[in-house]
Amino acid sequence: MISTSFLVYLIAVLLLTMTMLLVSHLLNPKTGKRVNKLPYESGIVPSGTTDIRWNVNYFLVAISFVIFDLEAVFLYIWSIVVMEAGWQGFIITSFFIFALLIGLFYEVRQGAFDWGKKQGGIE
């Protein structure tokens, strides 16, 4: 069952947070400056809007990142057992990386990473 100390702790937490919220609400100055509505960015004044259009190439790079990022997971597994796996493991892993390299080469030649060009990317 729920112990007594837990109940005391729960009530204490609730009381403390409510007091903190109430006190700060009562004490804060009620000036309606425009800046107060802006999101807090560690004291730096925000500039521009977040509602900008991304280049579609950004998504290509993002997708490639997700895929290549995940391949690192497999290398991590290999790195744990690198001694036990021996040369056979090394050769298989090298083949794996080699296949990835060919994939990367293909992507580069396709122009997936050509930033800023008017007609880069797929198509």
């Binding site: 080699f98 080469f105 293909y106």
Partner: protein, 476 residues
């Protein structure tokens, strides 16, 4: 590394080679030849394994039947490959990537056919399905192709999630992912037995999606119509054969027929697929949709095989007979279907049955080939389709499954009607509206048509040689 992994290695090297050649220089002819060479070498390396002693490893099983089924798969892919060059030339897209995705899908299905572990099954399945998404959405500029691509992506992802859930539940129950251990630990699970049944239902649900059986059949017609023609052909043959082989293997190794609920579900799905598939086909005018519904019905017939172990047998036949029946039926159906699709690929502008009016009087070879294939699909004697169905009925009678048999007979009778309607359309006198002047026959196409006629009639008239081959294989 034994000889058994050679086909897959050859395919992987072909994929890497064609990827490299693509990045260096784009050329349709080169991509076509690399793909063909790779397929040929793979077939050779598979051919060497037939009749050799098999091995079983942790992840894969290479018994007598596996290389044979893989070889059949490769033959089907090559029959589509033969026509691919011309068909792609007419397409207004980049052409070379099609071969790449085709090879990857083939590799995935090879892995699936030989899988002996949920991990290898899952990897092969995903390799195949993800390549198929690319193949389906290949002509992405067309609205229909894109729609089919999105539908296939979502549905195949849901299907694989369902299957994974089933695998996870079975893993939680038994603590193993190997197909072999599923049967050994049949009774002793960590959780009550209804959990096992739930897991099996999840896996079956995903499989029914892949095989487009009745409760999950709605996507297949849309897909056949929207996807590029060659992709539909591959979907109907490659993906379904691989999925069925795995389902068959898990079902018999895991002894799922011991659960009464599962047997009931499979029987209900089989009967519903036979009736609904044929009935929807009856109402259909679009040729590709007709093929889609007929494939639903055909896989409904095949589900009978899964239930064989559950019913009492009068045993005047050997136990390998059901293996023979499955393999014969699959081969018969695949060859027929790939024939139909290659005939359709030779006349791309024909979409509906009305378009076929009077084809016989213009292009007799094409019309005769198509007519024979339709007869084979309907299961008329002297065609390979009849022999397949004959085997199936024999096994079903032997195991006294009268309910399924009556559904099979009713379904076949309904089916006969619409297959014959296609033939009637072709023999009708031309009405002047249909225009076949754009049809040009190529040597490739002609040769393929003769080969198809030879296979369908040859094995239909003299099935003994073929069935003996399968019999020796399933014994060994």
């Amino acid at each position: 590394m034994s000889l058994h992994y050679l086909p897959a290695i050859v395919l992987i090297i072909t994929v890497l080679l064609s990827l490299t050649s693509l990045s260096l220089k784009r050329h349709h002819g080169i991509a076509y030849l690399i793909c063909g060479g790779g397929l040929l070498l793979t077939m050779l390396s598979l051919f060497m394994q037939i009749g050799k002693t098999g091995t079983t490893s942790e992840l894969f099983v290479f018994d007598a039947i596996t290389p044979f089924l893989s070889l059949i798969l490769l033959i089907v892919v090559s029959m589509i490959w033969v026509q691919l060059y011309q068909w792609l030339e007419a397409l207004d897209e980049r052409k070379e990537e099609y071969y790449l995705l085709l090879l990857l899908a083939t590799l995935g299905s090879l892995i699936m056919v030989a899988s002996n572990h949920f991990t290898s099954f899952f990897l092969g399945l995903e390799l195949m399905s993800l390549s198929f998404v690319g193949l389906v959405a290949y002509s992405g500029r067309e609205f229909k192709g894109q729609e089919a691509g999105v539908k296939y992506l979502i549905l195949s992802a849901v299907a694989s999630a369902l299957m994974l859930m089933g695998m996870a539940i079975l893993y939680l129950q038994y603590g193993t992912l190997s197909f072999n251990d599923l049967s050994m630990q049949g009774a002793s699970g960590t959780l009550p037995s209804w959990v096992t049944v739930t897991g099996i239902i999840f896996i079956l649900g995903g499989m029914f999606f892949k095989l487009s059986l009745v409760p999950c059949h709605l996507w297949v017609a849309d897909l056949f119509e929207g996807a590029p023609l060659a992709t539909s052909a591959l979907l109907a043959t490659l993906s379904k054969l691989a999925a069925f082989v795995v389902l068959w293997r898990i079902f018999s190794l895991g002894e799922w027929h011991t659960h009464a609920v599962i047997v009931d579900i499979v029987a209900a799905v089989a009967i519903a697929s036979m009736l609904v598939g044929n009935f929807l086909g009856l109402l259909q005018n679009n040729l590709l949709r007709l093929l889609a519904y007929s494939s639903i019905a055909h896989f409904g017939y095949l589900l009978i095989i899964l239930l064989l172990a559950a019913s009492p047998t009068t045993a005047f036949l050997t136990s390998t007979f059901s293996t023979e029946a499955v393999v014969f039926y699959l081969v018969a159906y695949l060859f027929t279907l790939v024939g139909v699709f290659s005939v359709l690929m030779q006349m791309p502008q024909i979409k509906t049955q009305q378009d076929l009016t009077g084809l016989f009087w213009h292009k007799p070879t094409l019309a005769i080939t198509l007519a024979l294939l339709m007869l084979s699909l309907a299961g008329i004697p002297l065609t390979i389709g009849f022999m397949g169905k004959f085997y199936l009925v024999m096994t079903a009678v032997n195991h006294q499954m009268w309910w399924l048999l009556s559904a099979l007979v009713i379904g076949s009778v309904i089916g006969l009607f619409y297959y014959l309607r296609v033939i009637m359309m072709m023999i009708k006198a031309p009405d002047g509206e249909s225009d076949f002047s754009g049809l040009t026959m190529t040597t490739n196409g002609q040769l393929l048509n003769y080969l198809i006629i030879f296979l369908v009639i040859g094995f239909g008239t003299f099935p003994a040689a073929f069935s003996q081959l399968i019999e020796t294989l399933s014994r060994g």
